[in-house]
C-alpha cells in the first residue's frame, strides 16, 4: 500500500539555499583548486623559491575563502548566530566536518601568504610586526604546505559532499558530484592563479610552469565533461523522479544557463580560443586572459545550475 498517497505542498517556499551558497561553493572551489595546482607543481618540481604562481595561488586561496565565508555567514537566517556552528558539532553532518576542515584550512592559507610574500612584507616597514611570526613559522613550512594541499583538495570535495547529502533532489544527490566539484574547482583555480601570476607577479606567459598547467587543463576539462555526462545519463535512465530531474538539462531557464554558461562559455570558449583561432592569436595575452575568464565563468554557471536546477526538480 505504501505510496498510494502523496502530498505536494511544503512548509517552506522557494529554494532552501539561494545564490549566496552557489557563490560560496564557487569561491571555496577556486580557493581549494588554486592551492592544489600551485602546491602540486611546487612538490612535483621540488621548488623552494616563492614563484609567481605560488604567490598568486596563496593570495587567491586566502582571499576567496575569506569572501566565501562572508557569503556563508550572510546567508544564515541571522548572521549573528554563526558562532553556534563553531561551538556545537555533530559529526554525522557534512557541514560540521567541513567547518572543522575550514578552521584549519583558513589560517593555513593565511600562513602560506606570509611565506609567499616574505620579501614584500620585509620591504614595507608598517608590516614589520609580521616578520617574527614568519621566522617562527619557517621551520614548519613543509608540513604546513603538505597539510594545506590535503585540506585544499578536501575543501573542493567538501563543497560537493555538502550538497550531495540533500536526498530530495536527484540532480544534486549523486555520488559523482564531489568529483565534479573537485575537477571544476581545480580547473577554475588553475585559471585564476595563472592569470594573477601573469598579471600581478609578471610570470612569463610561456614559462615552464604555465606550460604544465596548460597541459593539465585539457584532461581536467575532459574529466569534468565526463562527470557531467555521467550525472545526465544516470538521470535520463533512472527512475521517474530522476527522469523528471533530467528536464533540468532540456527545458527552462536553468537549461539555458547550462548550455550557454557551462557548455558554451566554460567548455567551448577555451577550446575555440585555443584551437580554432590562428596560432598568433591563440598564443596572445588576449586569448590567455579570455580563456581563463571563460573557465572561471563556466564554473560559476555550473554551481548556479546545480544548486538552482537541482533544488527546483525535487522528487
Amino acid at each position: 500500500m505504501d505510496g498510494s498517497m502523496e502530498f505536494t505542498m511544503g512548509l517552506s517556499e522557494g529554494v532552501a539555499w539561494p545564490w549566496p551558497i552557489a557563490v560560496y561553493l564557487f569561491l571555496a572551489g577556486i580557493s581549494g583548486g588554486s592551492l592544489v595546482v600551485a602546491l602540486a607543481i611546487r612538490f612535483f618540481k621540488g621548488q623552494t623559491a616563492n614563484t609567481p604562481l605560488y604567490k598568486a595561488a596563496s593570495l587567491i586561496s586566502f582571499v576567496t575563502i575569506a569572501l566565501g565565508m562572508l557569503c556563508l555567514v550572510l546567508d544564515l537566517t541571522n548572521p549573528l548566530f554563526f558562532w553556534r556552528i563553531l561551538v556545537f558539532y555533530n559529526f554525522t553532518s557534512v557541514m560540521s566536518v567541513g567547518v572543522i576542515a575550514l578552521c584549519v584550512y583558513i589560517p593555513l592559507t593565511a600562513v602560506l601568504c606570509l611565506y609567499a610574500f616574505e620579501d614584500e612584507i620585509k620591504s614595507i616597514p608598517a608590516l614589520s610586526i609580521l616578520l617574527p611570526i614568519i621566522n617562527m613559522l619557517k621551520p614548519v613550512r613543509k608540513p604546513c604546505e603538505v597539510t594545506a594541499l590535503i585540506l585544499a583538495a578536501a575543501v573542493c570535495a567538501y563543497t560537493g559532499f555538502l550538497i550531495s547529502a540533500l536526498i530530495r533532489f536527484p540532480l544534486i544527490n549523486t555520488a559523482v558530484l564531489p568529483a565534479l566539484f573537485i575537477a571544476s574547482g581545480v580547473s577554475a583555480g588553475a585559471a585564476a592563479s595563472k592569470m594573477l601570476s601573469v598579471f600581478l607577479f609578471k610570470e612569463d606567459m610561456h614559462s615552464s610552469e604555465l606550460k604544465i598547467l596548460h597541459g593539465a587543463e585539457w584532461p581536467i576539462m575532459i574529466a569534468e565533461i565526463l562527470f557531467i555526462c555521467m550525472i545526465a545519463m544516470s538521470l535520463a535512465t533512472g527512475n521517474a523522479g530522476a527522469q523528471s530531474a533530467f528536464e533540468a538539462f532540456t527545458s527552462g531557464v536553468w537549461a539555458n544557463l547550462f548550455w550557454i554558461g557551462v557548455v558554451g562559455v566554460g567548455f567551448l570558449g577555451p577550446i575555440l580560443l585555443n584551437f580554432a583561432t590562428g596560432k598568433t592569436f591563440s598564443h596572445s595575452a588576449k586569448a590567455f586572459y579570455l580563456s581563463g575568464v571563460c573557465a572561471i565563468s563556466g564554473m560559476m554557471c555550473l554551481r548556479l545550475f546545480i544548486l538552482y536546477a537541482g533544488q527546483t526538480y525535487a522528487i
Partner: protein
C-alpha cells in the same frame, strides 16, 4: 470517543514511562528488551474521516505560539478529478464533490535526515521520547535541514530566526501530559496519537487492523506519521 480513551491510555503510558526512568523502575517492565521499553510515538491521519475543517492547524498555531502566516502543519486539498475531464462521480466538469485532504507536516522520521545533517545538533531526537525536535538555542539558521528534509516539512520561524518542525507538541502539550493540540482538537477522530510500542495502546491496535501508508517510503526515512487513505473501488 476513542480520543478520550486514547488520552487516558496516553497519560497512563506517560506514568509508566516515568516509572521506568525512575530509579525504582517496576521490574516487570525492566525485563522487557531495551528496545520495547522505548516509546515510539506515532500519529495516524485517517483520510476517510478528515473533513478539511482546518481546526487542527489553528489549534497547533495557538498551542505552539507561531507567528502569523506560519504553521507547522498544512492541509492539502486534493480533488479526485482530472482537469478538463468530467468528474467520475457526478459527471460535471467543475465540481467539488470528491474532496480529499492530506495532512502535511513533519513525518517524524525514525531515520531523520534533518537530524543527521544539522551541524550543531539543534535538530535532534529527544532522548526520552525519540521525537524529532529543536533546540532553538543551538540552531545557526543554515537551512541545511530544510534542504535535507525529503518532505519539505521544515521552515524558518521568522520570530526566532531558527528552523522549526512539528514535534508532536513535545514541549507544549506532551510536556503537560496532554495529547498534541491537533489531536485534541479534531472533532472527527481523524487524528490518532500514541505509543506504537505499547501493545495496549489504541494506535497499536488500530495499526494492526487498518492498512496505513507512509509518505515517500523510498527515502528510507521510516516516518512515524501514518496515513489511512481513502480507498475507492472501481474508478
Amino acid at each position: 470517543m476513542s480520543e478520550n480513551i486514547e488520552r487516558r491510555r496516553f497519560l497512563k503510558g506517560m506514568g509508566a514511562a516515568s516509572l521506568i526512568l525512575g530509579p525504582m523502575g517496576c521490574t516487570s517492565v525492566e525485563d522487557d528488551s531495551k528496545n520495547a521499553n522505548k516509546p515510539h510515538y506515532v500519529m495516524v491521519f485517517d483520510q476517510n474521516k478528515c473533513v478539511g475543517c482546518g481546526e487542527c492547524k489553528e489549534a497547533c498555531n495557538v498551542a505552539n505560539n507561531l507567528p502569523d502566516g506560519k504553521s507547522k502543519l498544512l492541509m492539502e486539498h486534493q480533488s479526485g478529478g482530472v482537469e478538463g475531464l468530467a468528474c467520475p462521480h457526478c459527471g460535471k466538469e467543475k465540481c467539488n464533490c470528491e474532496r480529499k485532504f492530506v495532512r502535511v507536516s513533519c513525518q517524524q522520521c525514525k531515520n531523520a535526515p534533518c537530524v543527521s545533517v544539522c551541524p550543531t545538533g539543534a535538530a535532534h531526537k529527544d532522548p526520552e521520547t525519540g521525537i524529532v525536535t529543536m533546540d532553538a538555542s543551538k540552531c545557526a539558521g543554515c537551512k541545511y535541514c530544510i534542504g535535507a528534509c525529503p518532505y519539505n516539512a521544515r521552515f524558518i520561524n521568522e520570530e526566532t530566526d531558527v528552523a522549526d518542525n512539528c514535534d508532536f507538541c513535545l514541549n507544549t502539550k506532551l510536556a503537560k501530559g496532554e495529547l498534541p493540540a491537533c489531536v485534541q482538537q479534531c472533532k472527527y477522530d481523524a487524528l490518532i496519537f500514541g505509543d506504537a510500542n505499547d501493545p495496549t495502546s489504541y494506535v497499536n491496535k488500530l495499526l494492526a487492523v487498518k492498512d496505513s501508508v507512509r509518505m515517500k517510503p523510498q527515502f528510507g526515512t521510516e516516518p512515524s506519521l501514518r496515513y489511512i487513505p481513502v480507498v475507492k473501488l472501481g474508478v
